[in-house]
């Protein structure tokens, strides 16, 4: 249950109400919302108590949650929230583009990829160092060394970086390599041990939707992060398993307007993994922005035919430029801005 209190309710009254609820054996959270006190009761509230709370004068609105989430519910905040990845704000009304190769394959290649992403207009550099591959014989990533190479490449072009974390034991490596955002992949969306471990890492988390996860299961996973201390969560739709086999997955754009009603979290779309076909990435990116996504995450590779993973779905450098330009135009036509690229490092900016 979420209790939205009257604006201006004194802090002492909020504390008193909280103490009363917790005295009934129920756990509460207080929203960080600065303008209005909002309380979440995470345990099941008996009907008589719910009615009693709803009738209190300081309670403006009592909301019965749609599912197993409270802190990521739309009612938990007054406005949609944004998340800072380095100097890039995701969800602040301006579209952002995350781009990069599926995997970090070596220092020179990721540096080349970073330059392509920078020149193509992307805001955040992606690259996998720990790869969850379907086949145990496929390239598994460069591990910690890959993270370091990714960070160096990002810094060389002035872009923050994001990479997928697969195991709680990797948190220290991500922290030491100063990875700006931790990505939880589709296969790990319901790895609750991992979610709890990274919630306290003090880094933004991009939570991809599971291959067969419902929206309710996805938001419940996000709630794990929020309940364990992470306020910086970005959702990412990357396609779901359906009966359709013409594309790698089916991109579920329906979730975009739906999630706007259900959660305050920013939402990105990954059309590369959804389609698995590079020719579909640009139109799906346009559709994602048009449907209200805060941005897109696309795979780009200098030479897709030589990529060690997912090369078949990667964009060529020129194609990234086109996707970025089209996202800007579609967003602008709908009154949505396009995030400015982070500044170039001083040495490259000629300072």
């Amino acid at each position: 249950m979420i209790l939205r209190l009257q604006i201006g309710t004194p802090a002492a009254s909020v504390s008193e109400l909280r103490a009363f609820i917790e005295g009934q054996g129920l756990r509460t959270f207080l929203s960080p919302e600065p303008t209005r006190p909002i309380l979440a009761i995470v345990d099941r509230v008996p009907e008589t108590l719910a009615n009693q709370l709803a009738a209190r004068p300081e309670v403006e609105q009592s909301i019965v949650p749609r599912g197993e989430w409270r802190l990521v519910d739309r009612a938990w905040r007054e406005h949609p929230t944004s998340v800072s990845v380095g100097s890039v704000r995701v969800g602040a009304g301006e579209s952002v583009v995350i781009a990069g190769p599926c995997s970090v394959e070596g220092r020179e290649l990721i540096l080349e990829g970073a330059r392509i992403c920078r020149d193509g207009g992307a805001h955040i550099l992606r690259g996998g160092a720990f790869k969850p591959r379907t086949s145990p014989y496929a390239f598994q990533g460069l591990g910690r060394e890959g993270l370091a190479q990714l960070k160096d490449a990002g810094q060389s072009v002035g872009l923050p970086v994001i990479s997928e974390i697969m195991d709680a034991t990797q948190v220290d490596a991500f922290r030491e390599c100063e990875i700006d955002c931790l990505q939880v992949g589709a296969r790990n969306m319901q790895n609750f041990t991992l979610l709890k471990a990274i919630a306290g890492a003090g880094r933004p988390v991009l939570l991809k939707r599971g291959l067969s996860a419902t929206v309710a299961e996805w938001l419940a996973a996000a709630e794990y992060l929020a309940a364990h201390g992470s306020e910086q969560i970005i959702l990412c739709e990357r396609g779901i398993r359906t009966f359709e086999t013409a594309t790698r997955n089916t991109l579920d754009l329906t979730v975009l307007p739906l999630l706007r009603q259900w959660t305050h979290l920013p939402i990105l779309v990954d059309p590369s993994h959804a389609a698995g076909i590079p020719e579909l990435v640009a139109p799906l990116s346009r559709a994602a922005i048009a449907a209200g996504a805060d941005g897109v995450a696309v795979e780009v590779h200098p030479r897709p035919d030589q990529a060690l993973s997912d090369g078949a779905q990667a964009l060529l450098p020129g194609e990234l430029t086109q996707v970025v330009a089209e996202c800007r135009v579609v967003g602008a036509a709908l009154g949505r801005g396009f995030h400015r690229q982070p500044p170039l490092p001083a040495v490259q900016a000629g300072v």
């Binding site: 800007r328 009154g335 396009f338």
Partner: protein
């Protein structure tokens, strides 16, 4: 003119206004590190079906260019 068509016209006007704002924003971004290129009039003309007169488009682009250059000049430094 039906209400539906009137709404469509208003929506197009809004989209044009948003696009002009975005163009000015981008012009400021470009101008911070390079000189501002002229509008791509020939490219635009080649893509249009002729419903909007070419001479009119030229005047519009001229006004857009002036507006964007003014936005660059007025940008906070």
């Amino acid at each position: 003119m039906s209400l539906t068509l009137r709404h469509q016209l208003t929506a197009l006007d809004r989209a044009l206004a948003h696009l002009l704002d975005e163009r000015a924003r981008l012009a400021r971004e470009i101008a911070s590190c390079a000189s501002l290129p002229a509008p791509a009039l020939d490219d635009a003309l080649a893509r249009m079906d002729g419903c909007f007169p070419a001479a009119g488009l030229e005047r519009v682009f001229q006004a857009v260019d002036e507006g964007c250059r003014q936005a660059v000049e007025e940008a906070p430094r």
